[in-house]
Symmetry: C3
Subunit: 366 residues, 3 copies
């Protein structure tokens, strides 16, 4: 069922009272869902989040458009759309409003427990819980009110979920893990498997029992096919509001702070400590026992090899180029230190022979 722009703004305001937003025109205009500027049709609403797409603004067939004041000032003459919403943060408005419209479009979800699910009698199941086919809820597990448990999910012995958490099909929670409220975990993700801990002894590896667990805060989202290991002696911890993409590895005893965002294929090695609001690009990594401070940003494919204690933007990735050129440069790179020595020696020769001291600046840097 569509909402009018007024209804939509009221609903957004409940969730984000600080967000500055007003309707410029079309208060009673109904909108059913969001679409992109170029693909939107007559009952849809679009948004302009970046000036890059401003040329799409005048072409859009959307009923309504969300944009900021300066875009509105610049383009109102050429904007024929019926509904105009002005906000200081169009992308955040889109996120909140899209959630509301999306919830409207979903059928009332059935609150039910599928008869094929295997639920241990000692497990505690909250109210308004949905449990799909072939789920297994083991002894002493606790499922909070309003949780939705997908098909084939395993909630291990004594694992605990706070209210309103969603586990999609094929999520596995090992015994004893503790999950916050309003979390979303996607299919294939495994929480609480054994950390990689072995003691070398007579050229073999002796397994160290992983006796800790995993504790995950509220509002954490984890993508599909992630692996979050349980701690060896203490616990692995992921803070409130942190978002993980797909295929991510979090090793034993890692501590991740709050409101971090990690793109796909990231790996954090054992006992690393990641601060709050850290952002990491896809395929980045952090070596074991290191720290990354609050608000650090790590580029894709970059390996953090030493503790980062100053917020900033860090990168270490080999630049892509034509393969033939790469081959030559890679050979030179393997001898780079020798080249540097050669330059030093040459500089010395030149200065000695020509009777001039080396430049201070360069000798300082090098």
């Amino acid at each position: 069922m569509p909402l009018t722009l007024t209804q939509l703004l009221l609903a957004v305001a409940k969730q984000a009272p600080e967000l500055e937003v007003r309707i410029e025109r079309g208060e009673n205009l109904p909108v059913a869902r969001f679409a992109s500027l170029l693909q939107a049709a007559s009952d849809e609403i679009a948004f302009l989040a970046s000036p890059k797409y401003v040329n799409q603004l005048c072409q859009t067939q959307a009923s309504a458009v969300v944009l900021n004041q300066s875009a509105w000032d610049a383009h109102q003459g050429s904007l024929a759309v019926q509904g105009i919403v002005i906000t200081s943060n169009p992308y955040a408005f889109f996120a909140f409003a899209s959630q509301i419209l999306h919830a409207q479009s979903c059928d009332d979800e059935i609150t039910a427990i599928h008869p094929s699910a295997v639920i241990h009698p000692s497990a505690s199941i909250g109210s308004q819980v949905q449990i799909a086919a072939f789920a297994c809820i083991e002894a002493n597990a606790v499922i909070g009110d309003g949780c939705r448990i997908g098909s084939h999910v395993v909630v291990g012995e004594g694992a605990q979920l706070a209210a309103d958490t969603t586990l999609y099909s094929h999520v596995t929670l090992y015994h004893g893990v503790q999950i916050g409220a309003r979390c979303i975990f996607h299919s294939g993700t495994v929480i609480g498997s054994d950390g990689f801990g072995f003691a070398p002894y007579q050229k073999r590896w002796i397994k160290i029992p992983q006796t800790g667990t995993v504790r995950i805060g509220d509002d954490v989202e984890i993508g599909s096919n992630c692996s979050i290991d349980r701690g060896a002696l203490g616990d692995t911890v992921i803070g409130r509001g942190t978002k993980l993409d797909n295929l991510i590895q979090i090793a034993h005893n890692v501590q991740v702070g709050e409101d971090c965002a990690f793109a796909a294929n990231i790996a954090i090695a054992g006992s690393a400590v990641i601060g709050n609001r850290v952002q990491m690009g896809g395929k980045a990594g952090v070596l074991g026992h290191l720290s990354v401070c609050d608000d650090a940003v790590i580029s894709s494919c970059t390996l953090v090899t030493k503790t980062i204690s100053k917020p900033g933007f860090y990168t270490g990735v080999y630049p892509i180029q034509d393969n033939a050129e790469w081959e030559k440069n890679a050979v030179s790179l393997k001898r780079l230190n020798a080249l540097r020595e050669q330059v030093k020696a040459l500089e010395k020769t030149v200065n000695l022979q020509l009777g001039k001291p080396s430049e201070k600046s360069s000798s300082k840097i090098l």
Copy 2:
């Protein structure tokens, strides 16, 4: 049941009429399966695809050998095997013929639906469909004729599979995804989980509902434990004939063309557009919103950081070396730009002092 070489060639010709192939000797020789030159036994057929292995040719115990004309010309004097097949493309012949022999060796597959499978009454199940234990087929899903659905597979609400597609155990298809004909998806692969989309708002991340879906063409094979996310507003698309290895990440709104081949652990970030016949080595990556043109080849571990618009072979990977040498070179690399400045200054000094202009070629390049 073995086939004679003649039967085998006729069967291959049906599938690949353009492939040049003839029997040099042994028309009625029966062969049961392929094996490597060194391991083949008496009812087996081997092939020589690369001149590298030519010394294995004379040692083989295979009943028959597939090779090209020039290898045959060079070695027929020393080849005692009973059957000889000559073709311009031994590796392609092997692929087609091996499929045929392999199908011969399989038992007739049972066409049946396991009683434990949970199939929603509104789902549409084609003819000759196989559904294994504990599979879940949700409301309004469509399973085409001849599909094979492994145990514990989830086909989400409204998801559609065209004919003859195989989903191995533990594949998860989220609601609404559309899969072509003759696809093969391996265990643990997840299609249609939410893309990684969040709007920053007051230092937190607000989830953006992912309202698009995933559309996958005919003849696509996807390995195990891959994650293919659904689109945010539009769809994620994978073109006909593309092959994906294991543990691959395809983010929301990515478009992959036809007949691509991606090795394991690749990650393609959001909204990237990959052309046709693109090949990428293992662990390669593509940043978001970039394009890679048709027929580009990207090396293993290479990160595509800018749009590639010219077909070619591209690489960006740090060369491996002894760790002690790496340490010295890595230190120098972090100061490479300063070294370059130092060389420039030195060149200037030399030329000034010695009264000679710098060489044109090098100053042009740098």
Copy 3:
């Protein structure tokens, strides 16, 4: 039930008779479990494995501490803990003793087959086997004595498990794979999916049936969400005692030796041969058809691009730095070979003009 230090040492001695260990004081002191030095409470035992943590020794509240002779000699004056265990290898003692205490703390496991499991009548199930809900054991599969099969596990047709192997929930074994004794595979891991084998033919990819299998030795542990492909013609092999972390890719026909340790996100490409006791850091990779010799150590994020035939420590990873500096250095790196040529030319000019031959050492290196 806690054990006394004497009981614990006797139990360890049974498993590791060569380990030098004695009780310095507290023979009858009961200990229930291990904890870290800083977190240990009154019935717990801690250990000092590295001199780095020696300052924690005097603060510990543990009942007992495990340490080596030299640490004991240095700190016995200040150590108030009741129990002291002296051993030449505290970390190995911890591993063995922790296993023993952990086994003590577990309830007697139920030996039972859940009624929902689907077991083909031709499968062979050993004694003392545990099979959880919704497991599928297919035709002619063999489950050895004492195996523990988690919920939703699939053991494919003809697959074989030797005694005492544990498969956690959602492990998938394809048909015919052979698994040793005392193995542990974590959730989401897939063994025996098709290798990535396609022949190019008329700009399309023709699938090559993967007719080999996977053979895994005794005492192998594999983390969660790993993908181990079956061989194309021959088999994929993992040797006894090798340990794999999470999200690892082992391609078709790879041979991994014994007692290797691979951290998370590693990918080994097709037909590579890895020796014994090889250690690889997270996100490392090995290209296809290469060999890595016994006892080689490969750093995290390093790609092995050529055969390694000498044991040693090898690295190839771009050093992380401030992004602005990285940008400048990356530009210079793409022209590194030209810089090297420029230095050579400059050296020549200087030597010619100044009448001095180039230094032997540097011209040799470069």
